[in-house]
Subunit: 322 residues, 2 copies
């Protein structure tokens, strides 16, 4: 039996991934831009065991069946196909980020799984290869492979759709924990509904392409204000394109809206703070590292906060036998 | 001196008017559908006085200058041009709806002004003529001329853009008073920004055209559920197209979102209730008259409510000399 352990962190998009061009290969409708965090790591151990009749998933110490296990099995099928092995594996995952609350646990989860599985099955993949592999598990996982800031290129096929690092200004993210219960509608399902029923979806795609270009130029220029404004506008557009579904779908809660309001008020007081939120109620505030305490203080009383900085990319911690 | 008194009520749109095709004639990008309420009347007296050097506006007992007075003067210029009179007038208005809080005080205001001014200046206008005239003051005022449910036809020019009554199922509206302070950005300015900066605006226009057709067919069929679903979806799309502006613009407050959530929860308990909101935080809930008490009880504690039913159209109460 060989086993490998890998660790990855969630990422928060400044320009969002919302909508697939190709569901089977997880090719996105547009590119996106994110910061990988230095908090909430996921650590995953993959043990290849020829005795197993099927893959096993142990999540936070509990064996899981059903959809989560099947999703892992489909992912490992890709790794087995590439490695030539037919052996099944035991996958043990420990998340420190609340699952399925719009804090991108599937990003850190599939990035860590990609790293551990590639190592355990003996695939020799560089960063780009790992990013492409992680993408197959969950689109945004492609970005969690990358340290710091990452652009995920939409690409035109499996080979050209991967994330890579980009230079960016010094930023912190104040993560608010508004509500960490599992959300009623998964991102995957909500994306599907958006593509099928939101009349705003085509315009979302073209406006996001433009936002990504502008955001990359703001990154290159080290312009925190411009990058922050683009990120907040893009996030509110993502929630708008979702809200326009039929029937409507809403992820921002009253407390989320209150935080957006408070951040707008902070800006009027001259603090460069910008709000974003993935498909869930937990708002994340972009700010300069020196303003993170002020931002966290403003939100205290509404929600617990954790301040994050640019984190490491995917790390393989151990492989036995080496 | 001749004077005339007219009264009109606000209306709440089930399919929204948001965006102009022609700003000078107030021609809308799409048609819309509304219910005129039986609460919050505006009563306006127009006294034509050849001695006056300019029009005077007295709003709630206080003489007003600046933009509100100028808007009234521009409106009276249209009436004078049609009547052949050059005389100015004193306009006294009493609103019972909180001004500029997204409760359509400009709709009841310009409908009442159209009625009183037409009578005072001796214009002989039928309902359609009054609706067209009111439209020039404020687009949605065209609908407050009409009793009960009104469709405002987008039309192709001044002559063809007017509101008229449509049959509809028996409905009540529970109006919530979340926040009745004057809003930071007027509807007029927000519409302009939407047309200029929201990438979703063209799709909003085409989806609203479709929603209006479906809503009219639901009205004709007396289908409260279908009409309610269309109204809630269309309202959330209007807030979405606004939220997508650059910079973003948001009218729903945390309490508004809480009310949308509660109404969704009521539906899960089998109550046919549907939320809408104009450009402001005050949510209005559509429901069957027999469910209005249940809806109001659900919202009590969050906001004061007033229950409205289909109201009368524009009424001219007095003209002296007759």
């Amino acid at each position: 039996m060989t086993h490998a352990i890998a660790r990855a962190h969630p990422n928060i998009a400044l320009v969002k991934y919302w909508g697939k061009r190709d569901a089977s290969a997880n090719l996105p409708a547009t590119g996106s831009l994110s910061m990988t965090l230095d908090v909430f790591p996921t650590t995953t151990t993959v043990t290849v065991d020829p005795v197993l009749a099927r893959d096993l998933l142990v999540l936070g110490g509990e064996e899981r069946d059903g959809v989560p296990r099947e999703r892992v099995e489909r992912f490992l099928d890709l790794v087995r196909a590439a490695s030539g092995s037919a052996a099944h594996a035991r996958v043990e995952t420990v998340n420190t980020v609340p699952s399925a609350a719009g804090l991108a646990s599937s990003a850190s989860g599939f990035a860590a799984l990609a790293g551990a599985a590639a190592a355990a099955y003996g695939l020799d993949l560089d960063e780009r290869g790992l990013s492409r592999l992680a993408r197959r598990g969950s689109g945004s996982a492609s970005r969690s492979v990358i340290p710091g800031f990452a652009v995920w290129h939409a690409g035109t096929d499996d080979e050209t759709s991967f994330a890579e690092q980009v230079p960016a200004p010094d930023l912190a993210m104040v993560v608010t924990m508004v509500d960490c219960r599992e959300k009623a509608v998964s991102s995957r399902e909500a994306m599907r509904r958006t593509v099928l029923t939101s009349p705003f979806y085509p315009a979302w795609v073209s406006s996001t392409r433009q936002s990504l270009e502008s955001a990359l130029s703001a990154c290159a220029a080290g312009d925190v204000e411009r990058l922050g404004r683009i990120a907040e506008t893009n996030a509110l557009r993502m929630h708008a394109v979702i809200q326009a579904c039929d029937p409507p779908l809403r992820y921002l809660s009253p407390a989320s809206v209150e935080i957006f309001d408070r951040i707008a008020a902070l800006r009027e007081r001259g603090i460069g703070a910008y709000a974003t939120a993935d498909a869930g109620p937990n708002v994340v505030v972009l700010t300069r590292p020196e303003d993170a305490t002020t931002v966290a203080a403003e939100i205290a009383g509404l929600a617990e906060t954790v301040t994050a900085h640019p984190g490491p990319g995917l790390q393989v911690l151990e492989r036995v036998p080496r």
